[in-house]
Amino acid sequence: MINVDTITKSFAEKKVIEKLSLEVKKEEILSLLGPNGCGKTTVLNILSGLIRQDEGNIYINDVLVSGSAGTKKVHLKSSERKIGYVFQTTSLFPHMRIEDNVAYGLKSFHFSEQEVKKRTDALIEFVGLHEYAKFYPHQLSGGQKQRIALARSLATEPQVLLLDEPVSAVDPQLRESFRLELKNYLQALEITVIYVTHNLSEAFIMSDRIAVMGNGHIEQIGDRTEIFDKPTSSYVAQFLGINTLKGKAIKSDAGLLEIDVNGIALLASQAPNLVGKNVVATIKPEEIMLSKSADFNFNGTLGNSVEGVITEMVQMRSNAQVTVDAGFLVKTRTSLSSIKNLSINLGDKVYVHFNANALNVFLDNGNE
């Protein structure tokens, strides 16, 4: 459906996008996830034709919309790419009524007056704001404005919808409900969507697949489980808040890899055979259990138990983030009741336990 082929873009000599490639399937909702300033919006702007890449090609439905084919250079106008774009700020035309905002694109394409009216009404109805058709944007809340922005972008029946952090324009206390509304709209649309966000849980809620972006290119792409359970780089793991341990693979036996992390031996099952190599092991905070004794029941599976000292405890709403120095620093997510039952405090000696199959191991590419 969308094929971004090795694009590069620099602003004032600074490379913002570097050899970025991305494929998005038809009717898929793909989140482009990454920290602020990593180039996510630039990717959308290039896809939409608002800015032009320095190198590389962009295809939509196998049609080259920007780039070069042999000696021929192509750069379709934004309005010719069949792309809808919802911007980060509520970008409604402030001097036009809601219905005129939604009708703007239709009028550009010279639809008949009746057709414009019919489609405009249907779209405003679709986003549930029929009674606001005659209002001006400043009379709407942030969420309502973004719903209208969505309706406006859909008016010309695009094949692709780009959403750039659409939730950030909504009041914080209403973001949760807006997210769910938006998800329902997107699922009902059956349209290819690229959803830009820096918010991990938003990406998980909204999308079928997630592309984690960093340093101007896609670091990893996959579904929720692949991304969260099997990060393939330290960058992705750290961005997702997953513990990252650097070590060396010592030996492999019957699919069980032993790695040395700061002199402590850890076992990883289902790991590739990387004996002799420098590796990175990742472990999700949720996978780590704490106890005061070295014994732990792994229910017949292989596990790792390491002694350590609590160096930090940060209480959150329903759980606490407990950091343990076990020869390597690991963060855990522990329920408040467990902390109470274990009666653990800062500076206490504890044991961290995690399953061997929870440890994800990949080759250390040395970039981090």
Binding site: S48, S78, S79, S91, P94, P137, H138, S153
Partner: protein, 264 residues
């Protein structure tokens, strides 16, 4: 020094400055009585000056609008080598002494000036004509509109413009339906400033167009002449110009306060 003393000193400075500006204006209003206004309104020199000023400043403002709004749009949406130099050059008349503006116009448009040969062939003698007044006023006043329009275009929400670009392939349509309406307040504000500046133009007009009653003698020039022959007439013209300037400033301030998208 205590806060109270600082506040008193500050208050005195503000009062001082207020009086410095307001007293001369008040002085001229106290100089004329209502019954004298009527007599002056029958003075043909005064009526001619008012008519000429309204005509020339109106045409000059129109010329400024036609030339500066597209220029401002071009300058804010395009990057090219030497842009900042060109940008500075076209705003130069704002700070140029009026006498200098007058002399540069003479060297450009006078029969022996740069464009003299072309104008001579067309049978046009610019200096000493009403056209010269319009040229002088446009030259001096148009950069006010240019600046204002540029600020209007620059301050526009990029996402709003980009949304329009996504939905419409026509740049002209985007300009006339989105960019222009959203900058209209800045543009009107610029028009008012340009018109007020054109109405008040003195130095460049005097040097380039001369001081011919009914042809080039605008209100400021008439004030200068009448000061010796008919001081009350001069005072009346001055009062008209003060009222115009005051009204323009109020309109500009109101336009600056109110923006689209606010609930004011």
């Amino acid at each position: 020094m205590s806060n109270k003393i600082v506040l008193i000193i500050l208050g005195l400075i503000v009062l001082d400055y207020f009086l410095f500006i307001a007293l001369p204006i008040l002085a001229i209003f106290l100089r004329i009585e209502p019954n004298q206004v009527n007599a002056q309104l029958h003075n043909s020199a005064i009526i001619d000056a008012i008519q000429l000023s309204l005509f020339t400043s109106g045409v000059a403002t129109l010329i400024a609008f036609v030339l500066t709004v597209p220029t401002a749009y071009f300058m804010t949406t395009r990057n090219f080598p030497g842009k900042s130099i060109l940008d500075t050059l076209i705003e130069l008349p704002i700070v140029l002494p009026p006498a200098v503006a007058g002399i540069v116009l003479l060297y450009a448009f006078a029969p022996k000036g740069l464009l003299g040969p072309i104008l001579n062939r067309l049978g046009l003698i610019i200096p000493g004509s009403t056209i010269a007044v319009i040229i002088a006023e446009s030259f001096v006043a148009s950069p006010f509109l240019l600046r204002s329009a540029k600020i209007g275009f620059e301050n526009m929400d990029r996402d709003v413009i980009n949304s329009a670009k996504m939905l419409s392939g026509s740049r002209i349509r985007v300009f006339f339906t989105i960019t222009f309406p959203l900058s209209i307040r800045a543009i009107i504000s610029g028009i008012m400033m340009t018109w007020a500046r054109a109405m008040g133009e003195f130095g460049a007009t005097l040097m380039f167009a001369g001081n011919l009653p009914g042809i080039t003698q605008t209100m400021p020039l008439a004030i200068y002449v009448l000061l010796y022959s008919n001081p009350l007439g001069g005072v009346m013209l001055a009062i008209i110009l003060i009222i115009i300037s005051f009204s323009v400033l109020i309109i500009v301030k109101l336009l600056e306060q109110k923006r689209f998208g606010t609930k004011k």
